[in-house]
């Protein structure tokens, strides 16, 4: 389970606050120290953690706690509230163009899962009776086009490619073909690139300008560490990011990168990748994720008992 360790940690800490009549600033500090450590161990970026803990502390020390009869309960609630707020409060839907096709661009670091996620997304759309077109715009990685073609074939989704030609031209031509063939979604798979690679980042900007995507999804590996903020920030600065795909959530990572990326981009996580197979893909449920962080079931019991 993702976040399992984190939730156990937070619960252990917060349990100690249960049943206390009133909280002193010291109590809050002790609890929040544990929260801080747990979040850091979960790979949430240390600056994000700092802000988070500060917000929670302010709220804890505010009147609502001191006047509350059960402050322990209040702290738990505040941590949970803030975490939920940070993760985003409801499922974020895929943007849709009023004049089809809807154009979706997948971007991200090398190996994060763009190609796989592009295929998975096309599968999801196809199951909903849509007619997606996959576009192979990675001209660098060895056999990247072939990879997308194999996946497209498996899923019976058409794949547009122009070999190693300029990906901007490929994307443009693909859009034209989609219009001709009445594909209502166009999903562009781009090459993995470092956020500090100016040349390749500029290439993304050119593709964006050429096809004006309705959705630019940053694909992020759930195992990403502290660097997630740098990556997300750079992509956000250069592109009109609209959402995030969090991949490899079938691992046992605590996945704190989700919080970091969300905090720096403000973009909702829209999908979760849960395996290597093309059907291991789901809408991302932020409140479920936040609940998972804290082990919501138990938190609710805690609150009832407190």
């Amino acid at each position: 389970m993702v976040f399992e360790n984190l939730s156990t940690k937070l619960q252990d800490t917060l349990k100690r606050l249960r049943g206390k009549g009133k909280l002193t600033e010291k109590d809050v500090d002790v609890a929040l120290r544990e929260v801080r450590l747990a979040l850091l161990e979960a790979d949430v970026n240390f600056k994000v953690v700092k802000d988070f803990v500060k917000t929670v502390k302010e709220r804890c020390l505010g009147a609502e706690v001191l006047e509350s009869l059960t402050p322990g309960q209040q702290v738990i609630k505040i941590v949970n509230d803030e975490l939920t707020k940070l993760m985003g409060e409801s499922v974020a839907k895929l943007n849709q163009s009023s004049a089809p096709p809807t154009v979706i661009m997948m971007v991200g670091l090398q190996g994060s899962g763009k190609t796989t996620s592009a295929a998975k997304l096309s599968n999801l759309l196809k199951k909903k009776q849509h007619s997606p077109l996959l576009v192979a715009a990675d001209i660098y990685r060895p056999a990247a086009i072939k990879q997308l073609q194999v996946l497209g074939e498996q899923l019976e989704v058409p794949v547009y490619q122009m070999g190693q030609q300029d990906p901007v031209q490929t994307a443009k031509a693909a859009l034209e073909q989609a219009k001709r063939n009445r594909n209502d979604y166009v999903i562009i798979d781009t090459a993995g690139r470092l956020h500090i690679d100016e040349e390749l980042m500029a290439e993304l900007t050119r593709i964006e300008k050429a096809v004006n995507p309705d959705e630019i999804l940053l694909v992020v590996d759930a195992m990403t560490g502290q660097d997630a903020v740098n990556v997300a920030q750079s992509f956000k600065e250069k592109l009109g990011l609209s959402g995030v795909v969090l991949t490899k959530l079938d691992g046992d990572t605590r996945g704190g990168a989700a919080l970091s990326v969300r905090a720096v981009t403000g973009c909702p996580v829209k999908f979760a990748g849960l395996g290597e197979k093309t059907d291991a893909f789901e809408p991302f449920y932020p409140e479920r994720m936040a609940s998972r962080i804290l082990g919501m079931g138990d938190v609710l019991t805690l609150i009832e008992k407190a």
Binding site: L37, L40, E41, A42, D43, N45, F46, L109, Q110, G111, S112, G113, Y140, R141, P142, A143, A144, K146, Q147, L148, Q149, V150, L151, Q154, L194, H195, I196, D197, E198, E199, D221, M223, T224, G225, Q226, D227, A228, N230, V231, K248, D250, G251, D252, T253, R254, G256, A257, E276
Partner: protein, 310 residues
């Protein structure tokens, strides 16, 4: 060229973050709580992890006190020393076996850079005048075989492959056997990416290892775990579990050309005593280097912003 300063031609990049912070950190005149707090942030920000970071800063406090260190340079040297105590000071190369072929088995979770690292290694050995054979043991991922074929072409190496979906053990068995009969010097075995918490896939890996050994007693001579420098604390769990399934002889740390520092290797070295042997610094054939701990640690402390100027 330093590990962190190896920059692809034409690739302009801006490094910010921990390097600049480190310099600022050691520019101060007193080593108070605030200093240690900031140092903690720098180490945690480099993915060293809370536990290892605390251990390092605790030892540093103690040593600074013992040695009555006051000068920034002194404190910095102590800190570097502590990190090198963990990482080791020597460059630990990939070992070639006395009798050929040397079999190198490459493992890791999905997308970390296994296949690319194999391609770069093949190129390296080829340049040393060795006869190299690649075995396409990833029979699962779409176009994994084609990807390795392209690398084999780049490195002018032989490749042994089966069809997608076939038994990976069988491919690697054939690969090693072919290498023996062809008189290859080095066999590089690719495997499919797998998350370490998937029991069935880890079982498959154990079998792969056994079969390689069966094909050539004493093989695999090296079991290289590939870790992505952008990975956070999960890399420690990866190292532990892979090490149980197929004892690893070294780590290859990839994607160090980004802004991530890969500090988790410090925690891994601390716990598992497995050396980092290679680092990946790009996507080209040349972008692989031996891991030099002193250079790595120096890089952690001395590199400043390149500000886009290469």
């Amino acid at each position: 060229m330093g590990i962190f300063s190896r920059i692809k031609e034409g690739l302009k990049k801006t490094r910010s973050g921990i390097m600049g912070r480190m310099e600022g950190l050691f520019a101060r005149s007193s080593f108070d709580d605030e200093f240690y707090e900031e140092l903690e942030e720098v180490l945690i920000g480099a993915d060293v992890g809370v536990e290892t970071t605390m251990q390092i800063t605790d030892s540093l406090r103690e040593k600074v006190r013992e040695e009555k260190a006051r000068e920034p340079q002194q404190v910095m040297d102590i800190l570097k020393g502590l990190l090198l105590d963990i990482l080791g000071r020597d460059v630990v190369p990939l070992e070639l076996s006395e009798q050929k072929p040397t079999v190198i088995l490459v493992l890791g979770v999905n997308g970390v850079g296994k296949t690319t690292t194999i391609g770069k290694l093949a190129h390296r050995y080829k340049n040393e005048g060795k006869k190299v054979l690649l075995a396409a043991g990833d029979t699962f991922r779409a176009a994994a075989i084609e990807q390795l074929e392209i690398w084999a072409g780049r490195a002018q190496s032989d490749i042994i492959k089966h069809q997608q979906g076939s038994d990976p053990s069988a491919v690697l068995f054939d690969g090693v056997t072919a290498a023996v009969s062809r008189g290859s010097d080095v066999v590089l075995c690719d495997t499919a990416g797998r998350l370490h918490n998937k029991a069935n896939l880890m079982e498959e890996l154990k079998k792969v290892r056994r079969v390689v050994e069966k094909a050539l007693p004493g093989a695999p001579h090296e079991v290289l775990l590939v870790l992505d420098a952008t990975t956070g604390q999960n890399a420690l769990a990866q190292a532990k579990v892979f090490n149980e399934a197929a004892p690893i002889t070294g780590v290859a740390l990839t994607k160090l050309d980004g802004t991530a520092k890969g500090g988790i290797v410090i925690a891994i070295a601390n716990e598992l005593k497995v050396p980092v042997k290679m680092v990946g610094v790009g996507e080209g054939v040349e972008d692989l280097q031996p891991f030099d701990p002193i250079e790595y640690v120096d890089g952690l402390f001395t590199e400043s912003h390149t500000g886009g100027q290469v």
